[in-house]
C-alpha cells in the first residue's frame, strides 16, 4: 500500500487549480480515464459503479478500491451532510437519554469517538439521508427550546440547512399546538405575559450591562492593532483595578465614612495645607481620615462626638446604635484580604486549567503553524508585522530543533555554563548591592529626620522623599540593565532569556520590598515618635505616588523620546517595542505596595484606583503613538498564568504575611489609632468576644467556638492534612490520565496499520478477480 501513489491518483482527480476551469479539467480527465478503461470520479454519496472494470496497471488502484477509499467514514466525516446529520442525531438522542458515556460492553471495538457517534454505514443513499433528517428533526422537537437552540447553533452545517431544520421543527410544533383543545386559562395568560415581560426586561438589562463593560472599546482597539499579547497587559491592569475597587469600597463604607461622620472629639488639625502634602502625605494630611492615627478606639455614638461631656454620653448610650470602630477596622481589612485571596487562587487555578493540558509538551510546531495567526488583527501594517513574527518564530523553532539534534561539544557546553554562572552572579550581586544601599540610606534618613527636630519642617518633610526616589530609580534602571545582560546569553532560546529576565527583575523588586518591610516594622518602631503606624502609612503613600511619577517618566522617556530620537537621529523605521514583562512587573510592584499600606492608610486603595486609571490611559496613548508590537515569541495564555501566579505568590502572600505579623505580634502605639490600649491588634477580637460573653450569657457557645476552634492549632493541622490529601489525589488522577493518553495513541497508530493492511488485501483480491482467465478471454 503506497500512500503517495494512492494520494496522487486520487488527488489529481479532486484537485482544483483554478475555479473557472475546474469543471472542464475534470471532464477532460474523466474522458481520458474512460478511454483508458479507468473509472470516473465518485463522490461519497453516489452509488457504486456497476460491472467490472479492468485493472491493467499495477501501481494504480482498482476502481472498486478507490470507491471504497472514497466512502471511508474518516474521509467523509467533515464534509458530508448525511454524516453530520446522523452524528447530531446520535448526539441529541444521547442528550435525551442523559447518558454521558456508553458502557464498555456496548462500545464497538476499533472506532474513534467521532466515527462511533456517527453510526455510519458505507454508501448512504440520498433517501436514507432524508430518513436521517426526519429522525433528527423529531429528536430536536423533543428537546427543550434552549437545548434545541444550542444544538442547532453548534452544528457545522451551513446556515441555510440549519434554517430548513428549524422550519421543519417549528412546523411540527405549530401543528402539534393547533391540535390542543381549548384556550389557555386567563390567569395563565396573565402569568405568561408577566413572565415574558420580565424576561424581556432582563435581557435588555443584560445587554445594557454588556455595553457598560469597562473599557470594552479601547481594549478591542488595542487588540486589533497590537494583538493578543499586548492586550494581556491591559487586561491584567483591569483585573488589578477590580481588586482595588473591591478593597476600597469595603474600607470606604465600613471604616472611613463612619469615622468621617462622627469625627473624634479631641482632634484639631492645626496644620495648614501646602502643596507638598500631595507628594509627602505628611503635614496637613497627618491628622485626617487618610491615616490610621486618626481613628478612635471607642464605640461611635452620635451624642458623644458632638458633646464632650462624658456623663451625658453615658446616659444616652442606650438610645443610639453603637458602632464599634476597632472591630469594624480589623474585620473589614481581614475579610477583604480573605476574599481577595480566594479570588486570586480561583483565577489562578482557572488560568492554569485553560493554558496547561496534560501531556502537551510536544507538538509546538504544529500548534504554532495553525494557531498563531490572529484573525482579530486587521490593519495592513500589523498584518505584515504578524507575518514577520510568525516567520521569525518558525525559523527559531527550526534552529532550536537543529540544535537539539546536534548536541554541542563538551567545551562549548562548559563555556555556556560558565557564562550563565557569571551572568547570574552579576545579577545577584547587583540585587544585594541595591538592597544594602537601600538599607544604609533608610537608616541615614531616619536618623536625619529624628535629629533635626527643630529645623525647617518643609525641608524635613521633603527629605523624606529621598528614600522613595532612590527605590523607584533602582526599579526603573536595573531592569534595563538586566535586559542588556541578555547579550551575554545570545545562544539561549528566546523563551529562556525572557524567563531569566523576569526572574531577575522580580528578585530585585521583592528583595528591596522585603528590606523596606524590615525597615518599617522593626527599625521605625524603635524610634521615639508618637504614632509609628501613621508614619509607615505616610511612607507607603509616598512610595505609591513616587512609583506613579516614575511610571509616567518611564513612558515619556522610554517610549516617546526614544521614538523621536530613533526617527530623527538614527533614521530607523523601527519604533520602540512595548516591553510587556517589565510593565507587568511594575504593576505587580505597585499593587504590593497598595496591599501593604491598606492597614495603615485605609484610603490608599482609592489612590491606587486613580493611579491605575491614569496609567491605563497614559500607556494606551503612548502605545498607539509610539510603539510597535513585540517581535519576540509570546504565548499569551502561559504568560497570563505566570503573571497571576506572580501576583498571588510573592506579591499577595508577602503582603498578607506582613499584615499578619503586624496584627499578631506588633504592639500598637499608645496614643493614637483604634487599638490604643491593647497589646496586639488581634487582641481586639478577643476583647470583644469576652465582652459579648459577659454581657449576654447566651453567647457562651460563640466564645467557646472561638477558643477551641480558631485558636486551636490542631484544627489548622487537620485542615492542612486534608488539603494535602486532596492534592495527592488529584496528582494521581493526572498521572493516570497521562498513561491512558499514551495507550490510546498506540491504539490509534495500530488502527492506521490495520487500515493499510486491509486496503492492500482488498487491492490484491480485486486484482485476482480481474486477472482470472474468463475475463481476459472476453476482453479479447
Amino acid at each position: 500500500y503506497d500512500e503517495s501513489s494512492a494520494r496522487n491518483s486520487f488527488h489529481h482527480l479532486l484537485q482544483e487549480p483554478d475555479r473557472s476551469t475546474r469543471e472542464s479539467y475534470e471532464s477532460i480527465e474523466m474522458q481520458d480515464e474512460l478511454d483508458r478503461g479507468r473509472v470516473e470520479v465518485r463522490g461519497p454519496d453516489s452509488p457504486p459503479p456497476e460491472g467490472p472494470y479492468l485493472c491493467e496497471y499495477d501501481d494504480v488502484f482498482c476502481p472498486h478500491t478507490l470507491n471504497v477509499l472514497s466512502a471511508m467514514p474518516s474521509r467523509t466525516i467533515g464534509r458530508s451532510r448525511g454524516a453530520i446529520i446522523s452524528q447530531y442525531y446520535n448526539r441529541t438522542l444521547k442528550l435525551r437519554r442523559k447518558k454521558s458515556r456508553p458502557t464498555l460492553q456496548n462500545m464497538p471495538r476499533s472506532s474513534r469517538p467521532s466515527i462511533r457517534e456517527c453510526d455510519w454505514e458505507p454508501g448512504v443513499m440520498k433517501d436514507e439521508e432524508e430518513e436521517r433528517r426526519r429522525l433528527l428533526t423529531k429528536e430536536l422537537q423533543v428537546l427543550s427550546s434552549n437545548q434545541r437552540v444550542r444544538m442547532l447553533q453548534m452544528m457545522p452545517l451551513s446556515l441555510r440547512e440549519k434554517r430548513d431544520l428549524h422550519v421543519c421543527c417549528n412546523e411540527r410544533e405549530c401543528r402539534n399546538r393547533l391540535h390542543e383543545k381549548g384556550e389557555i386559562h386567563c390567569c395563565s395568560q396573565i402569568k405568561y405575559s408577566l413572565i415574558k415581560g420580565f424576561r424581556h426586561s432582563w435581557f435588555e438589562f443584560l445587554s445594557f450591562l454588556h455595553m457598560l463593560q469597562l473599557w470594552h472599546y479601547p481594549l478591542k482597539q488595542i487588540g486589533g492593532r497590537f494583538g493578543t499579547s499586548v492586550l494581556s497587559y491591559f487586561i491584567f491592569l483591569k483585573t488589578l483595578l477590580l481588586f482595588s475597587v473591591f478593597l476600597f469600597i469595603g474600607n470606604l463604607f465600613f471604616i472611613v465614612v463612619p469615622q468621617a461622620v462622627y469625627p473624634p472629639v479631641d482632634h484639631h488639625n492645626n496644620q495648614t495645607f501646602t502643596g507638598l502634602e500631595l507628594f509627602t502625605g505628611a503635614g496637613y494630611f497627618t491628622d485626617t481620615v487618610l491615616y490610621y492615627g486618626y481613628y478612635s478606639n471607642s464605640t461611635l455614638t452620635e451624642q458623644c462626638s458632638v458633646n464632650a461631656n462624658s456623663t451625658q454620653c453615658a446616659k444616652d448610650l442606650s438610645h443610639t446604635l453603637p458602632y464599634n470602630l476597632p472591630l469594624a477596622y480589623i474585620f473589614t481589612i481581614g475579610v477583604a484580604f480573605f476574599i481577595t485571596c480566594i479570588a486570586l487562587v480561583y483565577s489562578m487555578s482557572k488560568s492554569f486549567g485553560d493554558s496547561y493540558r496534560v501531556n502537551s509538551a510536544s507538538g509546538d510546531l504544529a500548534v504554532k503553524v495553525f494557531c498563531s495567526w490572529d484573525f482579530k488583527v486587521i490593519q495592513k501594517r500589523s498584518i505584515k508585522v504578524q507575518s514577520d513574527n510568525i516567520c521569525t518564530q518558525l525559523k527559531e523553532l527550526l534552529a532550536d530543533l537543529q540544535r537539539k539534534s546536534s548536541p554541542m561539544s563538551l567545551r562549548k557546553r562548559f563555556g555556556k555554563i560558565v557564562i550563565e554562572f557569571f551572568a547570574w552572579m552579576l545579577a545577584l550581586g547587583s540585587v544585594l548591592g541595591c538592597t544594602f544601599a537601600v538599607y544604609r540610606c533608610s537608616i541615614l534618613l531616619l536618623e536625619n529626620y529624628n535629629d533635626k527636630l527643630s529645623q525647617n519642617t518643609m525641608l524635613k518633610e521633603a527629605s523624606l522623599l529621598a528614600l522613595p526616589l532612590m527605590v523607584s530609580s533602582i526599579n526603573l534602571l536595573m531592569p534595563y540593565v538586566y535586559n542588556a545582560m541578555r547579550i551575554l546569553e545570545r545562544d539561549e532560546s528566546p523563551e529562556i532569556q525572557l524567563y531569566a529576565a523576569i526572574c531577575r527583575n522580580l528578585l530585585l523588586k521583592m528583595t528591596v520590598l522585603g528590606m523596606l518591610c524590615y525597615h518599617w516594622l522593626v527599625q521605625v518602631t524603635r524610634q521615639p515618635q508618637k504614632c509609628w503606624e501613621t508614619f509607615v502609612g505616610q511612607e507607603l503613600y509616598r512610595f505609591v505616588i513616587m512609583d506613579f511619577i516614575f511610571i509616567i517618566l518611564d513612558t515619556i522617556f522610554g517610549e516617546l523620546v526614544w521614538r523621536i530620537i530613533s526617527e530623527t537621529w538614527l533614521k530607523s523605521k523601527r519604533k520602540p517595542e512595548f516591553d510587556i514583562a517589565r510593565n507587568v512587573l511594575e504593576l505587580i510592584y505597585g499593587q504590593t505596595l497598595a496591599w501593604l499600606g491598606v492597614l495603615f492608610c485605609p484610603l490608599l486603595a482609592g489612590i491606587q484606583i486613580i493611579k491605575l486609571i491614569l496609567i491605563f490611559y497614559i500607556k494606551k496613548t503612548s502605545l498607539v503613538m509610539n510603539c510597535q508590537s513585540p517581535r519576540k515569541p509570546w504565548r499569551a495564555s502561559h504568560m497570563t498564568t505566570l503573571f497571576i501566579t506572580l501576583l498571588c505568590f510573592p506579591s499577595f502572600l508577602g503582603a498578607a504575611v506582613s499584615i499578619s505579623y503586624t496584627i499578631w505580634w506588633m504592639k500598637p502605639s499608645e496614643e493614637c489609632g483604634p487599638f490604643r490600649t491593647l497589646t496586639t491588634i488581634y487582641e481586639s477580637g478577643k476583647v470583644w468576644v469576652r465582652r459579648l460573653e459577659k454581657s449576654n450569657p447566651r453567647f457562651y457557645w460563640f466564645s467557646w467556638i472561638h477558643r477551641h476552634l480558631v485558636e486551636n492549632p490542631l484544627v489548622i493541622f487537620t485542615a492542612a492534612g486534608i488539603l494535602l490529601i486532596v492534592i495527592y489525589f488529584h496528582a494521581e488522577v493526572v498521572d493516570g490520565q497521562r498513561k491512558i493518553i499514551r495507550l490510546l495513541r498506540e491504539q490509534i497508530a495500530n488502527e492506521g496499520e490495520d487500515k493499510k493492511f486491509l486496503i492492500n488485501k482488498l487491492q490484491d483480491s480485486y486484482k485476482k478477480i480481474n486477472s482470472s482467465p474468463g475475463k481476459r478471454a472476453s476482453r479479447e
Partner: protein, 209 residues
C-alpha cells in the same frame, strides 16, 4: 425597540436568532453591513426570500478580510457555491462562527476546512505548504518549508497516514489555549455603531428604542 422592522418576517428573524449566536439587533446590523457592500444588488426587503449573492470581490474588500492572507479560503468555505460569492445566510454564518460566542469545536471544524486547500477533507503536505507560504508571505526558503511540513505531520498525525484528518486537527487544537482567542473577528465597526447613535438613525430603525 424594533418589533416593527420591515426587513425580515418575524419567523425569519427568529430562525436567524436560533441558528446563529447573534441577537436581533446584531442580525439587523449585519444585514445593513451586507447591504452596504452592494446597495444596488441587495434589496432592502428580505421577506420574499430573494436569491441574492454578492460576488467575492466585494466580500474580499471588507475591512476584516481585506488584508488577511486567508480571505479567499474563508470566503470559499463559507459560501454555498464554494467560490466566494456569498448570500446573506453565508455572510451571517461567517460572522457567527468567527464571533466570540462560537465554541472551540465549531471553530476547529471550520478552521480545518479553511486550511484544506484542495477540499479533500485532509490536510496533506501540499495544503500545509500553501498554508505556510500564506502565513509567512513566502519568506521561508523551500528547504525550511519542507522541514516544517515534515515536522508538523510527524507531530500531529496520529494514525500515520501521512496527512491530518479532522480528528488529528481537533486533537492538536485542544492543546492550544490561544486558538479560541485568535479565531475571532474584531468588531470595531460594531462598536462604532454602539457608540454613535447618529449612525443608527441613518439606518432608520423604524419604531422607538
Amino acid at each position: 425597540m424594533g418589533n416593527k422592522q420591515t426587513i425580515f418576517t418575524a419567523e425569519q428573524l427568529d430562525a436567524y436568532q436560533d441558528c446563529t449566536f447573534f441577537t436581533r439587533k446584531e442580525i439587523l446590523r449585519l444585514f445593513h453591513r451586507y447591504r452596504d457592500l452592494a446597495p444596488q444588488l441587495v434589496p432592502p426587503d428580505y421577506t420574499s426570500k430573494p436569491d441574492v449573492k454578492i460576488p467575492y470581490e466585494l466580500i474580499g474588500s471588507m475591512p476584516e478580510l481585506k488584508d488577511n492572507p486567508f480571505r479567499q479560503r474563508i470566503a470559499e468555505v463559507f459560501s454555498e457555491d464554494g467560490e466566494g460569492n456569498m448570500t446573506l445566510d453565508d455572510f451571517l454564518d461567517m460572522f457567527s462562527v468567527m464571533s466570540e460566542m462560537a465554541p472551540k469545536d465549531l471553530k476547529a471544524c471550520y478552521a480545518f476546512k479553511i486550511y484544506d486547500f484542495n477540499n479533500d477533507d485532509f490536510i496533506c503536505k501540499s495544503d500545509l505548504e500553501k498554508t505556510l507560504n500564506k502565513l509567512t508571505r513566502n519568506e521561508l526558503t523551500p528547504e525550511e518549508v519542507r522541514l516544517v511540513c515534515e515536522k508538523v505531520i510527524d507531530e500531529a498525525d496520529l494514525d500515520n497516514d501521512g496527512r491530518l484528518s479532522l480528528e488529528d486537527f481537533q486533537h492538536m487544537i485542544i492543546r492550544a489555549p490561544d486558538f479560541l482567542r485568535r479565531t475571532q473577528a474584531s468588531k470595531t465597526r460594531r462598536e462604532q455603531l454602539i457608540r454613535e447613535p447618529e449612525l443608527l438613525n441613518k439606518y432608520k430603525f423604524s419604531g422607538s428604542k
